[in-house]
Symmetry: C2
Amino acid sequence: MASEDTTPGPALPGQRSPSATLLAGLAGAGDVVADPDVLEAYRRDQAAPGLLAAGMPAALVRPTTTAEVQVAVRAAAAHGVPVVPRGAGSGLSGGANAIDGCVVVSLERMDRIVELDAAGLTATVQPGVVNAVLGTAAAAEGLWYAPDPASREFSTIGGNIATNAGGLCCVKYGVTRDALLSCEVVLADGRAVRVGHRTRKGVAGYDLAGLICGSEGTLGIVTEATVRLLPAPPRSSTLAATFSSLVDAGEAVAAIVRRVRPSMLELLDRTTLQAVQELEPLGYEDDVHAVLFARSDAGADAGLREIELIQELCDAAGATLSVVSDDEAEGRAITVARQLAYPALERKGTTLLDDVAVPLPQVPALLAGVERIAVDRDVLIGTFGHAGDGNMHPTVVYDHRDADAVLRARAAFDAIVALALELGGTVSGEHGVGLLKTAHLDAELGDARGLGRAIKDAWDPAGTMNPGKAI
Amino acid sequence: MASEDTTPGPALPGQRSPSATLLAGLAGAGDVVADPDVLEAYRRDQAAPGLLAAGMPAALVRPTTTAEVQVAVRAAAAHGVPVVPRGAGSGLSGGANAIDGCVVVSLERMDRIVELDAAGLTATVQPGVVNAVLGTAAAAEGLWYAPDPASREFSTIGGNIATNAGGLCCVKYGVTRDALLSCEVVLADGRAVRVGHRTRKGVAGYDLAGLICGSEGTLGIVTEATVRLLPAPPRSSTLAATFSSLVDAGEAVAAIVRRVRPSMLELLDRTTLQAVQELEPLGYEDDVHAVLFARSDAGADAGLREIELIQELCDAAGATLSVVSDDEAEGRAITVARQLAYPALERKGTTLLDDVAVPLPQVPALLAGVERIAVDRDVLIGTFGHAGDGNMHPTVVYDHRDADAVLRARAAFDAIVALALELGGTVSGEHGVGLLKTAHLDAELGDARGLGRAIKDAWDPAGTMNPGKAI
């Protein structure tokens, strides 16, 4: 209004050279980087390349304290530029992809375990602590941090919270949200607020920690989190079983989950198995159309051990072969195909990893439908994933240099998402929406999408926090 | 603005005779009642009488469908009167207490189990289904609805969701929020919106089902819910152990939760035990200062059964006596003191049942502090509850006809809440805030309270839905 106003205006979208005033405003936000070569490495996460927008940040900051994160958020707000928070950058949906002119706030240097309270069965960590590092620290106290995304060796707790990451053992032990007790969040206005409870139960106020979990940085930046730990589980046994049809394997899954609670229940299909055997011949017969892997950490009921019951149920469903082992090393050996599933598919081309979940009885229909889509669209799709909670990862393999193949891959991907919705499922079980799935949100959420937006607008009226993602 | 406007104005606060236009607007909302004798019975929940406001409703509606709930909410909104939803009225915090001139929406007639999907391990229910009724229906399919508030024989799933009810087995199996997959909610503007996911995992959009859970009807009215079921747990064993000091019992709890996951871990103190033995002599020795009850549904690890390990840990912590049983009837017999705890205290006077939770290592300090408060305030306080997750119910017993006793009881109650906060805890572990704990929210939540309010304001700008409760 007044001409004396010297506050810099908002950065123009697409502006590539950061304004000196923004950089000056970022002083105090930790390590501040404007070097384009470094920024280039912070433009995108691990989502399939070439499909999603990834802008050029005006600046990268690598804070080490909450106060530094607050400085960064306030500076971005003052300059009207977006803030894009980033953990390890291992996300698969573009949630951490940069926006032109934004400030990327990488939490990688906030990697301190603040407190491991063994008596309280909690850990308080900065967001940049790697999942497996927390796991190791907990194990040293005879405790366990359960959420185990496949990325656990490199993904961070902050990123896990942002996406509400799942994993293999969540079929029994829950996802990240189930482990999150409370967190400190830097909001769009730069305030640092603690939400949730340090106690294992607590109903005072709305469940804001749960709301933050899975919000992909659109409501604020998690700068500290208190998570619950569990006693280390009892020793586990492992099963692998092969089936000559997906229907038989689906029946085995249905029978198992209705009777017992395996700590892992994974499935992979024939296409995936073939890719695995091309990478490493494991001796699976040609007629194997599905492999099921299970682990059990429960003991015996009425004299029958849980893992043996699981084996019986597999055999009754028509397993062509089933083996069980109580030995950890042997257990790893008989499930190696599951570990190799994604690397084996990646080796065959560029991959577009989907992440849909359907109600349990619909898993066979999902698998059959994906096979049809692969034929119809003339693409290779290997499917594997968490059969025990209906969350599968159909993975479209294509040649990214072949424009037609890219189109077919994308069409197959969209068809899989549409199929999951048709079956009463969700467009994302655990990877998050990011940029990859926003187009499908209206179909899934209906009016609920607007309710989420109303929260976003109330907490972040200027829309600074990771705009365009998640909701 | 225009004098031709014939829309009725908002009801005045305190107005006791419902306007004919409001009643006319409620036509189509199911059974509509304006009879003061009936309304009287719908004014309050089971919170300690005399301490909390309970207004006179303008009308009660007992809808049987979502559409009828929508009619009621829209009519209330049009007349500017509050809506107070109500389940079984068994809440303990005044969350269902009426407000002068409000419309009470009782969900008691929406008591249909819409679908029990045994293969999908889900149940879809109307909100008025009683917890135990759902449990029985699930058991008929060999399945289990885990959340087990003490009120499970009469409280409803809708009420359980409104308060995010806990229970005994939630130490291992989680609270209501952990069981809630999705729900349909009638919002302040009368829209019915489905939030959450039917799948066991799902990260599309914010976690709005989690947000609704525990919001005590302040964001909307749950008109249908899909909850997850589990396979029936394996057979359980039961332990009871006595201790000559609270410190020893606290040490036993600490040792147990760090090693294993009992499916129940309850404690009661000497005052409670004395009240129980006055009601029914159970032969506990006079020197017993604490009793611990545990159940285990896990099997053996390395040959040692979990229940036996729990017993060993109790004995090592100085238990004066410990017994274990694998028999269900015997298990009930050795834990009867826990079932009688609250009835026995209720028999001794009017009770003010508190519900605080503290971090696990603070349980002994909480118990010792409550003993001090009882002496300082010259009141009787019996404490029992869910030691395994730090959620205790110190119960102040007083004579409600003695004005001074009422003041001392209230002061003791407030001192317990303050103590819990001092110990890093929460003012409510599972009963909800209702009207009873709103005064303590600022002390616990700080800025997070405003974040909750911003959501409330965004979803319910006129403040129609159960105003003054929960947040």
